[in-house]
């Protein structure tokens, strides 16, 4: 649009004084404020004074009545887990060499699957090889039996049947030999050809049994599985000065064992029998505390580059997400006030801090109390990562660290058995639907599938709700006990 007030011929207008001209002044005023913060948060760099100005605005020159900690003196008491008890069985000594999950989740072999029978037989024949080739004799004495047509568990599944039939009478059943040895028998029983080698065969039998005990860990006194609750129950204890510190796992079913699986037993002063007591080992160290650092931690300095891979600012908590809000507040507000002292513990130890004194740069010493200490039953006491003390009674809260000797990232096979438990409230029944069953060759096989949906996978990802859509579940059971792999 052309400017309407423009004068086309300036010279003429001035000469003839056509219009009065009044000079006025426009002033350009910069307004640094805007509704959008994007640019301000971009922290654009200007002159050197601007850098100082922003620091002053951010409070970086504001004097605090505080000092940086430089030394921390820590006094710790540690004791080792010494006893273990599975369920309500007798306590046994604790072996820190075996991962605790193995120990807790181990169950005795009720019936040997085919694959175990085969590998035991193979191992035995290989052990015997340097004495001589007696495979024919052992095959005659301990063969894999031919399939019994009445054995539905094998004959109902073509894979199981064919695996059995292929090795029946062709391979040695090591489990039968193992059972024979376990009842006090000798491997040379009934094999006349071995008579000259009896001592050597017995020595190999001992090795064979020791080998199998190490290959498959089986519980000693009893296992921790509680069938009617589908959970494991165990306890372990560490000696203390006057009593035992008892750690109880009342309901462990997660598959990954960590400190939160156990509670501190309040009343028990012993795992059973007279309490084992020992003065805990103490250790006093003076260490340099280092600031806690983590990915995405905001740098307290305004003029600093931060690693943008983790962005806590992008966490969008809902109004009920208290844990998320806590995490953000910790990470964004208080993170730079947390200090860390590294401390190496042996696996299987229970450590409690008797005291920490922190010295700051002005030589002032501060005694540090554990967060969450106080009365365990006090409902206003709050801490994020703390052991629960069993029961509701008023007791001092437990602030020890339990370093359970667990395996991190162990290998896990596919589920051997999978049962859906479905509650039918109208019929007042509980249905057990076997989705995967343990089959004889040792590998899982899918359970019966509904004909109406042949393409359905049996990997168990479908929910219980979808299974109830069937007009009739295959069979009703009031209670189904699942068997752990």
């Amino acid at each position: 649009m052309p400017f309407p007030l423009i004068t086309d011929n300036i010279a003429e207008a001035i000469l003839e004084r056509q219009v009065p001209t009044v000079t006025r002044w426009n002033r350009l005023e910069g307004r640094p404020r805007t509704d959008a913060f994007d640019r301000a948060l971009g922290a654009e760099v200007r002159d050197a004074l601007w850098l100082l100005t922003r620091q002053w605005q951010m409070g970086e020159f504001h004097g605090d009545d505080a000092a940086s900690p430089i030394l921390a003196k820590v006094h710790l008491a540690t004791s080792q887990l010494a006893r273990y008890r599975a369920g309500a069985h007798e306590p046994e000594p604790f072996d820190p060499g075996i991962p605790l999950e193995t120990r807790v989740e181990a169950r005795a072999i009720e019936s040997f699957p085919l694959d175990l029978r085969l590998l035991m037989g193979r191992q035995w024949l290989k052990l015997m090889r340097d004495i001589g080739d007696f495979s024919g004799e052992f095959l005659a004495a301990y063969p894999i039996e031919a399939v019994d047509p009445a054995d539905a568990a094998v004959c109902a599944h073509p894979e199981a049947w064919s695996a059995h039939a292929a090795v029946a009478q062709r391979r040695v059943d090591g489990a039968r030999l193992y059972a024979h040895l376990g009842t006090g028998g000798h491997a040379w029983d009934g094999i006349a050809a071995l008579d000259p080698h009896r001592a050597a065969v017995d020595e190999r039998a001992t090795r064979f049994r020791a080998w199998f005990a190490r290959l498959i860990h089986q519980p000693g006194a009893g296992d921790a599985w509680v069938p009617d609750r589908l959970e494991y129950q165990f306890a372990c204890s560490a000696p203390e000065a006057e009593r035992e510190r008892v750690l109880l796992a009342e309901e462990y079913y997660h598959g990954h064992l960590d400190w939160y699986a156990v509670d501190v037993g309040a009343d028990a002063s012993s795992l059973g029998g007279p309490p084992q007591t020992a003065e805990p080992a103490t250790d006093t160290q003076v260490l340099l505390p280092a600031p806690v650092a983590f990915d995405g931690m905001p740098n307290t300095r305004w003029w600093a580059f931060e690693d943008g891979r983790t962005n806590f600012g992008e966490v969008r908590p809902d109004t009920t997400d208290l844990a998320k809000l806590l995490l953000m507040e910790f990470a964004l507000v208080y993170a730079n006030d947390w200090m860390l002292i590294p401390y190496t513990l042996t696996a299987g130890s229970v450590a409690s801090i008797r005291g920490i004194a922190v010295t700051d740069v002005f030589g002032e010493r501060t005694w540090i109390e554990a967060a969450g200490s106080g009365d365990d039953a006090d409902w206003q006491r709050w801490a994020m990562f703390l052991n629960s003390v069993e029961g509701e009674a008023h007791r001092p809260a437990d602030t020890t660290l339990h370093g359970l000797p667990v395996a991190v990232g162990g290998l896990e096979g596919p589920a051997q058995e999978e049962v859906l438990l479905i509650r039918d409230e109208v019929a007042n029944m509980v249905w057990g639907v076997e989705r995967t069953i343990h089959s004889q060759p040792g590998s899982p096989s899918p359970g019966p599938r509904p004909r109406a949906r042949p393409g359905r996978s049996s990997n168990g990802r479908s929910s219980a709700g979808s299974a109830t859509r069937r007009s009739r579940p295959p069979w009703p059971t009031a209670r189904t006990s699942a068997i752990a792999p």
Partner: protein, 216 residues
């Protein structure tokens, strides 16, 4: 130079399962790895049906003298300072390094972590540290008069001055409005005439003043 070696002999020193360690290892992992379970079944069936059972050869890379095979137990004090590749293979034909073409089947691969007997824990405590930071600019101060030495007050004053300047750097027009300087500051002033009879910079163009002032 040999950079790898077939695991045998001293590789298995100190094992409780000194008999057939590679078999023991296979029996263990075949319980949890489906593909190795199939391989184990192949071994068993081969023997059952009168064929030669495939035997596995264990190789550990990179080779270090005195190393132990990490797939089973190893003596206390074995340094676990780096990753190892445990390569277990059945060689249908002996490995021939002069042949340029090798072929084989990769059945399975996975990563295992060896649990350590020591764990590093941390004791964290909250301590209110001062949140002041070092200034982001370097300040070059020169003495006001050349007496050959510094006076402490000069330095302190220079710092105070700089901080004052830094604060003034952030002054906004709204803060000047209430002061007697308001008519003069900021001095970014431009002449303007209504009829464009002289050189002018009419900022009001941005607000489309002409549409208001235009004669109907």
């Amino acid at each position: 130079m040999r950079t790898w070696r077939i695991a045998s002999g001293e590789f298995f020193d100190g094992l409780e399962d000194a008999d057939f360690p590679v078999d023991t290892w296979l029996y263990g992992v075949a319980r949890v790895r489906e593909k190795l379970h199939a391989y184990e079944q192949v071994t068993m069936l081969a023997g059952a049906l009168g064929r030669a059972e495939p035997e596995l050869t264990a190789i550990q890379l990179p080779h270090r003298p005195g190393d132990r095979w990490l797939a089973l137990q190893f003596p206390d004090g074995t340094p676990l300072d780096s990753d190892r590749l445990l390569y277990s293979a059945h060689f249908a034909q002996p490995f021939d390094k002069t042949s340029r073409r090798q072929c084989g089947l990769l059945l399975d691969e996975w990563t295992e972590v060896i649990p350590a007997s020591d764990t590093t824990t941390g004791i964290a405590f909250h301590y209110d540290r001062p949140s002041t930071e070092a200034p982001q600019a370097m300040l070059l101060v020169t003495p006001a008069d050349f007496t050959g030495g510094w006076r402490w007050e000069d330095l302190v004053d220079a710092l105070h001055d700089t901080l004052d300047l830094a604060k003034r750097r952030a002054v906004e027009p709204a803060q000047i409005d209430a002061t007697p300087y308001a008519p003069l500051l900021p001095a970014t002033v431009m002449a303007v005439t209504a009829r464009q009879l002289t050189i002018s910079a009419n900022l009001a163009l941005n607000s489309e003043l002409q549409t208001i002032m235009a004669p109907p």
